[in-house]
């Protein structure tokens, strides 16, 4: 039976992915900052899925603590999902260094720090899969969220390099760009159904994508098309757009 480590285990998407893996017989280790909240998620998952769920404290911003977390994982789960992220507020981040650094640290530096440690162990084992939840926002910087976007761009780039390296050690890296996701938070909003995935759709796509060793997936096909167009726009045109 396999196992998965989910970093950032209290978000709707992370919980949906945990559910998908549990219902496929995997053991799940959830790691996140707030242990009390994690405990509630754990009891819920155990009651609903009758599976094995473990929880660990993890703070993406506390880079020094990452070493201990990875050391405490014995055995190391065969799959690691990097599901944490911080959207932040672009207008605040532009003026406030703290907010700006938080966006960059959570989305990029923190992810790099923990995945460096984990990938070294996977290399040694010559087995393991890393799944990174990145974002379509990382494909081209837009004025409304380019600090978040550029941190995700850096993360996507890191994942692609890591995939290249780990390939030679029999390990795999999957990059996921979910697009809009209909979390419980957005239940009452009118989201475009063509562009919005359900958390369990994301979870199923991740599970399938990881199993079939896909490199990069967009959960909804529409996003691949949209991002293709957005990448093709000449910069002279793009810079004039308000988006």
């Amino acid at each position: 039976m396999g196992s998965i480590l989910i970093l950032g285990g209290t978000s709707d998407i992370a919980i949906s992915i945990a559910e998908e893996y549990l219902s496929n017989g995997y053991q799940v280790v959830l790691a996140a900052r707030n242990l009390e909240r994690l405990g509630i998620v754990k009891s819920d998952l155990q009651i609903r899925y009758n599976g094995v769920v473990e929880i660990k404290p993890f703070d993406a911003e506390e880079l020094q603590s990452h070493h201990d977390l990875v050391g405490s994982l014995d055995p190391l789960p065969d799959i690691t999902l990097c599901a944490f992220g911080y959207l932040g507020d672009q207008s605040i981040a532009k003026k406030n260094t703290e907010e700006c650094l938080k966006i960059i640290t959570v989305n990029f530096t923190g992810a790099v720090s923990i995945l460096n440690l984990i990938s070294e162990r996977y290399k040694k084992n010559r087995a393991g899969t890393i799944i990174g939840l990145s974002s379509v926002a990382g494909e081209r910087g837009r004025q409304s969220n380019y600090i978040y976007g550029s941190s995700k761009a850096a993360f996507t780039s890191y994942l692609s390099g890591l995939r290249n390296e780990l390939f030679h050690f029999g390990c795999h890296v999957l990059t996921v760009k979910p697009g809009f996701v209909d979390t419980k938070m957005t239940k009452h909003l009118e989201l475009n159904p063509w562009l919005t995935a359900q958390p369990n759709q994301v979870a199923k796509a991740v599970f399938r994508g990881a199993n079939s060793k896909r490199n990069t997936i967009y959960v909804l096909k529409m996003w691949r098309f949209i991002m293709f167009i957005i990448r093709q726009l000449p910069e002279t045109v793009f810079k004039r757009l308000k988006m």
Binding site: R37, I40, V41, S43, R48, K184, M185
Partner: protein, 440 residues
């Protein structure tokens, strides 16, 4: 962000700030303005509408399931449908369930829901071990029949006015299979219907579909439906190994609002005719999956859209035992003469009930739908007068329009309820459009 929100009857609609609750720590900030909790929006009227609404649908985690003792604890936003999926395969069932499984546990407490077993097993509150409630200003209480009993009894059926229920622990009921052994028997008129309620009073579950449009000798013709959980002994060798296996049913959907001519008097009458003759003999006994027995309408997604975009009002009243017969005759005559009744109405016997604002009382309850049309509100006011005349009352969970006078005259424990509010929520931090209408 303001948005249009309405509940199951699609009337009334409110401009609402709908704020999702994820974590307990958020409650202080979320309840800084007067507000009301809302679960899955399956009450019919304005009980869970207010200018600020705390949506508990995001607060839906299972916390404890003791498979030996049959004790379940969850956050208040968890829906009965999810609970059933968890407990049924282990041989447990909900102690009380209404006609839909798409309600939250918090809503079940705030409405003190009743089911087809009220006459034998009481309302939901009778099976609660304890619940936790946030009453504003940083105060959380754990309540049970022994601990803060006044707040406990005021909260059960209290329509959310005592605070935000955060978790509920309740006792489940042991079952041996997913089936219900069902008996259906036809009553040719109202007298026969009453006789059948007596005849089936020892059955755990009972209710009757009643035709409100038929007059003369067939006035009050009904189909009595009674049921028991099927035991292992009643199953054949092939069924036994799968006695507790959940079945996935397919669902119909009503994707848009149907035009209102679909509900003309003629089409309702012919529907009732068909329904009544669905059972050919006088008595029919069969085994049915629990979903079909308890939740026939859940099989049709959005059945409320059947009544068109103007929505409908479900009118449910209860009359005490001593006046039930005379009261039902007069009220049903009035509905029949007006000719705007619904497809089917539900008649049900209640057992004794305590609580401050809980709806049931020993007697009979009738529930029927009225599609929203001009003149309806006036007509319902007339029905209210009759309900008062026979010392009955209306179900707050289905109400969208009752006058304060009618409410005050029909809920005798209101004074006691207000004393509890004075003690625990002196600032009245929780209010709905309904409470403003009824208490104002």
């Amino acid at each position: 962000m303001r948005q249009k929100v309405f509940n199951w009857g699609r009337y009334p609609q409110g401009d609402v700030d709908l704020l999702p609750l994820y974590y307990l720590e958020e409650l202080d900030e979320l309840t800084s303005k007067p507000c009301i909790a809302r679960g899955n929006g399956r009450c019919y009227g304005d009980s869970s509408l207010s200018s600020q609404v705390i949506s508990t649908i995001t607060f839906d985690k299972a916390l404890i399931f003791d498979k030996k003792q049959g004790i379940f604890k969850c956050q208040s936003g968890m829906q009965l449908s999810d609970i059933l999926d968890i407990i049924v395969p282990h041989g447990w069932f909900l102690p009380v369930t209404p006609g839909t499984k798409f309600i939250t546990v918090g809503g079940a407490v705030a409405s003190d829901i009743h089911g087809k077993n009220h006459h034998t097993e009481g309302s939901f509150s009778k099976h609660i071990i304890e619940f936790e409630i946030y009453s504003g200003e940083g105060l959380h209480y754990t309540c049970s029949a022994k601990e803060h009993p006044d707040l406990f009894h005021a909260t059960c059926g209290g329509m959310g006015l005592t605070g935000i229920i955060t978790s509920v622990t309740f006792q489940l009921k042991k079952i041996e299979s997913v089936f219900i052994t069902r008996v259906q028997e036809k009553a040719r008129n109202l007298d026969e219907a009453f006789e059948l309620f007596e005849k089936y009073s020892n059955h755990t579950y009972s209710m009757a579909w009643i035709d409100c449009l038929k007059g003369g000798n067939s006035f009050g013709r009904s189909i009595m439906m009674a049921g028991e959980h099927t035991t292992l002994n009643e199953l054949n060798a092939k069924q036994k190994p799968e006695a507790l296996k959940l079945l996935q049913g397919s669902k119909l959907n009503i994707p848009l609002d149907l035009p209102s001519f679909m509900l003309s008097g003629l089409s309702v009458k012919s529907f009732n005719e068909l329904y009544y003759h669905k059972i050919l003999g006088k008595v029919k006994q069969d085994k049915t999956y629990f979903d079909q027995f308890f939740y026939p309408l859940d099989a049709i997604n959005n059945w409320n859209r059947m009544y068109g975009k103007h929505g409908f009002i479900q009118y449910q009243f209860v009359l005490p035992l001593s006046t039930s017969r005379a009261g039902l005759v007069e009220i049903m005559e009035k509905i029949r003469n007006q000719g705007s009744g619904s497809f089917l109405a539900v008649l049900k016997q209640f057992g004794p009930q305590d609580g401050m604002l809980s709806f049931p009382m020993e007697g009979y309850t009738l529930a029927l739908d009225f599609p929203f049309r001009p003149g309806l509100l006036k007509f319902l006011n007339k029905l209210d007068e009759l309900v008062l005349k026979y010392h009955g009352r209306l179900y707050l969970t289905k109400d969208a329009r009752m006058d304060a006078e009618v409410f005050k005259a029909s809920y005798p424990n209101l004074g006691e309820f207000i004393n509890v509010l004075d003690k625990y929520v002196p600032k009245r931090s929780f209010s709905s459009f309904q409470s403003e209408r009824l208490f104002g």
